[in-house]
Symmetry: C2
Subunit: 336 residues, 2 copies
DNA sequence: TTGAAAGCGCTAACAT
DNA sequence: ATGTTAGCGCTTTCAA
């Protein structure tokens, strides 16, 4: 006996395949007696539905694809974990779309909705992964998509993230409140909206405090430890060194602190370092990292919930959803 | 125009659907002229194959499922990233099976091969996620599965990991070579083979060095920062404290070092700490962590390659594959 | 309450 | 080289 299907059940239970199908999906439409008979037969033949067939027939794969720059990034992996959790609880599976930042791969993964392998997309990128131009943009042949952490700029899709501008302002202000005046910044990829917004917030907080924005104090990088490592060197090479460095991610901060230590600088005694994200490791670092906590779990959960609702035809109430961040002051920053 | 299928192409190109199918999949079976005609028509109608239909027909989903305890764990996420990479390069997608250690979820995800949503399984657990007993174990109705990092004990499935016993011996020996005699250990979940093997290696290295195994020096935990945090306290409470602590994962080591610091102990001056895994953060910690480097990328790649080959009907050469680990001495351990 | 039958969109014999 | 046709395993009208 190779592969038991509903027709095997039907044969064994002495009913039609239609009845089997009903008994399994729509119990109320068959008599109690047949239902039991069918269930017993299903059990007996060791039935497992072929979900490919179900999906083809119902035009629903019950998969979503999460398009994410890098699963191995601590911040990202937290988000995706939360996504998987709610997807699973609602009977969906998540297809992993690790793009390593490649626009081409973003498009490939996004195409999975066209090819019916996925019913929707959670996009953690600032790029729209398909042509809106080419064809008519009849809003309803766009796939269900929710934009997480980043923002494509297209309001046809709901997006969820923190208010990066405000968060960066809070971070910068914390440093200013601590008496710092020469506050450097190490950014993420400036293509990304998150990084642009943080840069804007940084700048604005400076201005509001009457501090001059000094271009030589910002190093444009990307969200990675290696970047922080190198960027810190550039900062250290300056004649007038910063007394504080605002890193646009905790990973950057980690690399930054490493370099500082290499050259004999103490954090926070010589230089204060501020991170962003509050990855799980942040509080365990030496010194524990002052940072902006993102509600990672909440972001992931909200993205997934929104998407699944979208798939079910429910329109979101707010298209642009901002979740609350929080300044977490630990030991990597100190009053001047 | 809603959904272009091969029959739309056929109509437009003035050929049969079979010819379209051939032109698309099997170009050599069709004349150059028709091939071009078909391609043009496909382009014109904006064709994207319905992979659900293809999969149903060919009985191949081109998905694999990665069953993993926790995507947010740095070690795990490295593995899964490598898996995704090779899967993608071979035209497969990976379904994320984050189990949070739950055997039930392991089984749920494993069932995806039965329901045809996945063609194979990469299992990072020591438990077999389905009944081998119940039915006849006719080896060929087992799904393609490769066991990564852990070992179920079933040699019907290929497995790939490092030699945990040897690696733990190397780690312990390093501490012994440094003159340590009271060497504590903080283990992972002792249900897991990796942790049992490491415990065995630890013990064996002790014995070979003529050191007595002291049960009070081992704290049984799990692979998490929180665990390391708490376990370290237990160790510190002992009358005769260890001079070195061998943590069975870097995350444990991180938590352990944190607690040590809390209580004013310096690593490595007062106590040496050794990790395991060499997660990307390890070298950036303060102090940089001495650890056993696992070939994460290689493990992931090998798992995926093996599985995909298995799916293609190629039998693996070795059922139990050990990849080389490496002792990485940094600054968290020091000679006594 | 149950069943017959028509597909979902595609592939793969088998014919032509 | 191209076309006909029979399904893959299931859901879902529609009729009985």
């Amino acid at each position: 006996m190779a592969k038991a299907g509903i027709k095997d059940i039907a044969a064994r239970a002495g009913v039609s395949i239609a009845t089997v199908s009903h008994a399994l999906r729509n119990p109320s439409r068959v008599s109690e007696a047949t239902r039991l008979k069918v269930l017993a037969a299903a059990e007996a033949v060791g039935y497992t539905p072929n979900n490919l067939a179900v999906s083809l027939r119902t035009a629903r794969s019950r998969n979503i694809v999460a398009i994410i720059p890098d699963v191995a990034d601590s911040y990202n992996s937290g988000i995706i974990k939360a996504i998987e959790k709610v997807a699973h609880s609602r009977g969906y599976s998540v297809l992993l779309g690790d793009t390593q930042g490649s626009p081409e791969r973003e498009r490939e993964f996004a195409a999975m909705t066209r090819s019916r392998q996925a019913d929707g997309i959670i996009l953690m990128s600032h790029r729209i992964p398909f042509d809106l131009e080419g064809k008519r943009v009849s809003a309803d042949d766009l796939p269900p998509l929710v934009n997480g952490c980043e923002f494509t700029g297209c309001d046809a899709f709901p997006s969820v993230s923190i208010d990066d501008v405000q968060a960066a302002m809070d971070a910068t202000r914390h440093l200013i409140d601590y008496g710092h005046r020469r506050i450097a910044a190490i950014t993420g990829d400036m293509q990304s909206t998150s990084s642009r917004d943080r840069a804007a917030g940084y700048r604005r907080a400076l201005e509001e405090a009457g501090l001059e924005f000094d271009e030589s104090l910002v190093v444009y990088g990307e969200y990675s430890v290696q970047c922080g490592e190198q960027a810190a060197e550039k900062l250290l090479l300056q004649k007038a060194r910063p007394t504080a460095i605002f890193c646009f991610s905790d990973e950057i901060a980690l690399g930054c602190m490493y370099t500082l230590r290499q050259y004999g600088f103490s954090v926070p005694d010589d230089i204060s370092v501020m991170g962003f994200d509050d990855i799980p490791f942040a509080k365990y670092l030496a010194p524990p990292l002052t940072t902006i906590a993102q509600p990672v779990e909440d972001i992931g959960r909200t993205c997934a919930t929104l998407l699944l609702d979208l798939i079910d035809g429910k329109k979101p109430e707010t298209m642009r959803q901002f979740l609350p961040h929080r300044l977490v002051v630990r030991k990597s920053t100190r009053p001047l």
